[in-house]
């Protein structure tokens, strides 16, 4: 029913735009990772040197490893907060469901930066938390380790990504046919048993999606470490950022970016496969 001209007219502009402003830039990132810098000048000489450096210098491997651990911790904590939240809303909230749902969503609209900043004012040595602890005479000196530590990065990222994790979990729980739950209870299963054998298995796709979100989003974060991480909370994206800035080694920075990109895409792919396999069982 649509003419050839119509189809061409709607397809061509987005294809050209995406090709020029998205595919080409990503391809350039890829190309840079095989080039080199000599005497502060970019040389277009194809080689694998950057990847060798990346995996042979302990400093990069170490930061990458720390980044993975931080991302894993964020994923775990967001699930720990997000799952019970989603479960409560789906099965126990009754008439307040819609309101509570909105309350979880609202912080998603609050600027990332604003939330990171708020935590900075809470955790600092002159911050609200230390002020409070001294006010109630719990401590007499400010506690320094709240801010500028991997702990602070995990806390801030967990705060930011809990609503993200909540969304797919809640959607998955809402899709569970209620008669299944009722049948399980009518047949004498306790609520713990019903949860473990009916609700949890059926919510696995949402759990996978939420966990993937949290892990992938944390993996490439460079703002939270800059805000609250300090030297001990540096993550891999901070290394990239410094290589593109003061250190001026774009090719090495590009090689690390390509690694982050590949990890991200393989995780997404893996989670999609797992989800499909689980659902088809």
């Amino acid at each position: 029913m649509y003419s050839r001209a119509y189809k061409t007219l709607v397809s061509l502009p987005p294809l050209l735009w995406v090709g020029l402003f998205l595919v080409l830039p990503y391809a350039m990132m890829f190309a840079h990772s095989f080039w080199a810098v000599r005497d502060g000048i970019l040389v277009h000489q194809w080689n694998l040197h950057n990847y060798v450096t990346l995996f042979s210098k302990p400093v990069y491997v170490e930061v990458l490893w720390r980044t993975m651990r931080i991302a894993a911790a964020v994923t775990f904590c967001s699930l720990l907060l997000g799952y019970p939240l989603a479960y409560y809303l789906s099965f126990h909230a009754g008439a307040r469901k819609e309101l509570l749902y909105q309350l979880v969503i609202v912080p998603l609209w609050v600027s990332y930066l604003v939330r990171g900043y708020a935590w900075k004012t809470i955790l600092g040595s002159e911050g609200v938390l230390n002020g409070f602890l001294q006010y109630v005479h719990f401590t007499h000196e400010p506690v320094a380790f709240f801010l500028y530590s991997p702990f602070a990065v995990v806390l801030v990222l967990t705060h930011i990504y809990t609503p993200f994790v909540f969304l797919p979990l809640y959607a998955a729980l809402e899709h569970i046919p209620r008669p299944l739950v009722e049948a399980s209870e009518d047949l004498g299963a306790g609520s713990a048993q019903t949860f473990l054998r009916v609700i949890l298995p059926l919510s696995i796709p949402g759990l996978l999606a939420g966990a993937t979100f949290a892990f992938v989003l944390s993996l490439g974060d460079f703002l939270a470490p800059l805000l609250v991480g300090g030297a001990s909370g540096i993550m891999i994206a901070n290394v990239v950022q410094s290589l593109f800035g003061a250190a001026y080694d774009w090719p090495l920075g590009a090689a690390i970016s390509v690694c982050i990109l590949l990890i991200t895409i393989s995780l997404l792919f893996l989670s999609e496969r797992l989800e499909k396999r689980w659902s088809s069982k």
Binding site: Y2, V10, L22, P25, M28, Y117, P163, V181, G220, A254
Partner: protein, 273 residues
């Protein structure tokens, strides 16, 4: 949905969920509270409430310049992303071209990949193209990164649309162009408003991509970022509180639009039956 009789009490769970809500809202509450605190952003309890920080904020030219910059970039991004996103959604819905499913995944990349990768790729491209970094590069970056927001929403809208209306319009002699303006677009009104609002908010808040594409003129998040490095004052709390208020305002508007839209649809259904 479980009937009220099925709702069991779970006191422990309720307490836990209350604590999670406190965790989610604590920073926002602290932020707002300390924007009124005369003694600055730290310490406890906040004493001597004041509006001085807001007064200082309203006299702060640099902040308002950055707000204007952000509004320009966001408005531009809404226009461009919506246009490209609408065309892409129409293409995905109606046209056939090689690499279609690849294209679908490609437009999603900026939302999935860490912002730093998209930001740096675009930076390399800008350097390669010899473009001066400015609000223009930021605008191009935002528009490109946010196309998929519009595409996803509008594609869903198109899939739900009643195709017979378009067919009828074409059969009755309307040109494809008239059909597009009088039938297709009005049907997509809600999806357009929804994705427009989302793009606007995301662009206003964007920092990871902007970070690498910004020239001399700052957007609001980058202006705040710059100030954070120089030390923190409750003026930042004040501006953050205002951002929060505006965001919540936008959500309320969106719900009004949506529920009114749904109301209209329900009425239509009733009239038809």
């Amino acid at each position: 949905m479980s009937s009220p009789a099925r709702l069991r009490r779970a006191p422990l769970l309720t307490v836990y969920v209350a604590l999670v809500f406190i965790f989610i809202y604590l920073p926002i509450a602290v932020l707002i509270l300390y924007s009124f605190n005369r003694d600055g952003v730290g310490g406890f309890p906040p004493r001597r409430l004041t509006l001085d920080w807001y007064r200082q904020l309203f006299a702060d030219g640099a902040i308002w310049d950055s707000v204007v910059n952000s509004l320009i970039v966001a408005a531009g991004s809404v226009a461009l992303s919506l246009t490209l996103g609408l065309l892409a959604a129409l293409a995905l819905d109606r046209a056939r071209f090689p690499g279609k499913s690849l294209f679908r995944r490609l437009v999603l990349l900026p939302l999935i990949l860490p912002g730093i990768i998209t930001g740096l790729s675009l930076l390399m491209f800008a350097v390669f193209a010899g473009a001066q970094l400015s609000l223009l590069t930021v605008f191009l970056g935002h528009s490109t990164a946010l196309i998929s927001v519009a595409t996803t929403e509008l594609f869903a809208g198109l899939q739900k649309m009643d195709r017979a209306q378009e067919e009828a319009s074409l059969d009755l002699g309307a040109t494809p162009w008239q059909t597009f303006w009088r039938v297709t677009l009005p049907n997509l009104k809600l999806s357009l408003i929804a994705s427009g609002l989302l793009i606007f908010t995301l662009s206003m808040d964007e920092i990871a991509v902007t970070f690498f594409l910004i020239g001399r003129d700052n957007t609001l998040p980058l202006e705040i970022w710059g100030r954070l490095r120089r030390g923190i004052t409750p003026e930042i709390n004040a501006v953050s509180t205002l951002i929060f208020a505006v965001s919540v305002g936008l959500i309320v508007i969106w719900y009004r639009v949506r529920t009114r839209g749904l109301g209209a649809q329900a009425r239509e259904l009733l009239e038809r039956s």
